[in-house]
Symmetry: C2
Subunit: 232 residues, 2 copies
DNA sequence: GTCTATAGCATGATAGAC
DNA sequence: GTCTATCATGCTATAGAC
């Protein structure tokens, strides 16, 4: 591999700046300067800032979806006779997202960007992302249903919603958690800082194990509530 | 109550636009036009756009913190002899946030804004918000510790992290969930649309009950994992 | 306190030479 | 494909009349 091409340099720079500052706060000038390419190159290669935003997501979401589906299919083919466990399904769903931080250059940036994007309110982004994730989401939803056969569809819907929230929050913050804690200065929070520092230093797989355990218990509780007489 | 003053009109307009478009995408012109006040009024009353952003948060976060602490102290004073249950603590923590949607005009907007703010990556906002929430967070952390006496501090830290993520995601999306589902057009997702519609139509208290149940189970699972030999 | 007008600058996009 | 130069517009903030 020689040097990166202009297009890739632009995508990398945009990814980094978007995850630090957001989309509208990031100017095309800042992107081209960071990428060390000419201002006009952005419009030449992508047509517009908006199209560049799309390209930034497209580059990563495709592989993410594929990896999630690959892990799911692997589970289903390994033991065709019985269903994957809840924990196995959560692992297939959550691992590719949290491991984005390891997916080579810029992966960490994109993980943060992705975490924020999940909580994006603007119609424009929300609808675009929903469209990208929907098929995979639906596929997993059916698998979860088989792993929790007595769960009510509505309960499962909300349960997955909570899982995605916990995942997105973790993706958005797991990297800057440490620096935030370091920056604290309150006198009476030395214990808290010590705990937070230890928690923020855990590696991806440890946090992943925590998130899987937390989510599985939460989903089972939602599922169990039905049998006890429903949610109301 | 006669008509709202200029300052309040500006705060309301800013809250609405920020929650729809984000901070940098919202211009002071758009704010003053929506508020139907003069362009210069914003700088006269708040000094700058940035100071207005602070004011938007300050107006709501104070009461939110107070309400959380009030509910917590109520629990502790009602039965001074034994600790509140995990569910009671979660209720005290989560209710004021999710009920923002009912806190009069603009409350729904602010709830969305708040949900997004929790996942904000920009240093500027992240540090400001962390500072605002930290004392209350720490107070609840100690209370959770008493409700889960054998839990490891680090486990609890991550557990609360996941709870906050699920909460923020719910705050950011509970309002536009229905409209998103309506907008779907895939042919083969009629069942999904039906489920999503039913889930999205649930009222705040039903969702709150779900979130409390989910979170309590998740936290207990994190706590139990220690007794079984730790997380690694 | 409220308004108009505008300064001073950054923005996204493009035309046209090379 | 890459560059410079520039357009048209939008931005935050402020000066100064009322």
């Amino acid at each position: 591999m020689t040097e990166k091409g202009t297009k890739e340099r632009l995508l990398d720079a945009a990814e980094q700046l978007f995850s630090d500052q957001g989309f509208s706060a990031t100017s095309v000038r800042a992107i081209t300067q960071t990428a060390e390419v000419n201002l006009a190159a952005l419009n030449y290669h992508f047509g517009s800032k908006e199209a560049l935003i799309d390209a930034v997501f497209a580059r990563r979401i495709g592989p993410l979806n594929q990896e999630r589906l690959r892990l799911l299919e692997e589970l289903e083919q390994e033991r065709p006779d019985d269903n994957p466990t809840l924990e196995e399904l959560l692992e297939a769903f959550l691992t590719p997202a949290l491991r984005l931080s390891r997916s080579g250059s810029g992966g960490e940036q994109f993980m943060r960007l992705m975490g924020r994007a999940h909580n994006e309110s603007r119609d424009f982004f929300r609808k675009r992302l929903a469209k990208q994730f929907f098929p995979v989401f639906q596929r997993f939803e059916r698998a979860f249903h088989r792993a929790l056969p007595r769960v009510d569809s509505q309960d499962l819907f909300w349960g997955i919603h909570f899982v995605v929230g916990a995942m997105a929050h973790t993706m958005a913050h797991s990297l800057n958690m440490l620096e935030d804690i370091e920056a604290m200065q309150e006198e009476d929070s030395r214990l808290f800082k010590r705990i937070g520092k230890a928690a923020g230093s855990e590696d991806v797989d440890t946090v992943l194990a925590r998130l899987i355990r937390f989510s599985a218990a939460g989903l089972r509780a939602e599922a169990a509530a039905v049998k006890d007489g429903g949610v109301n």
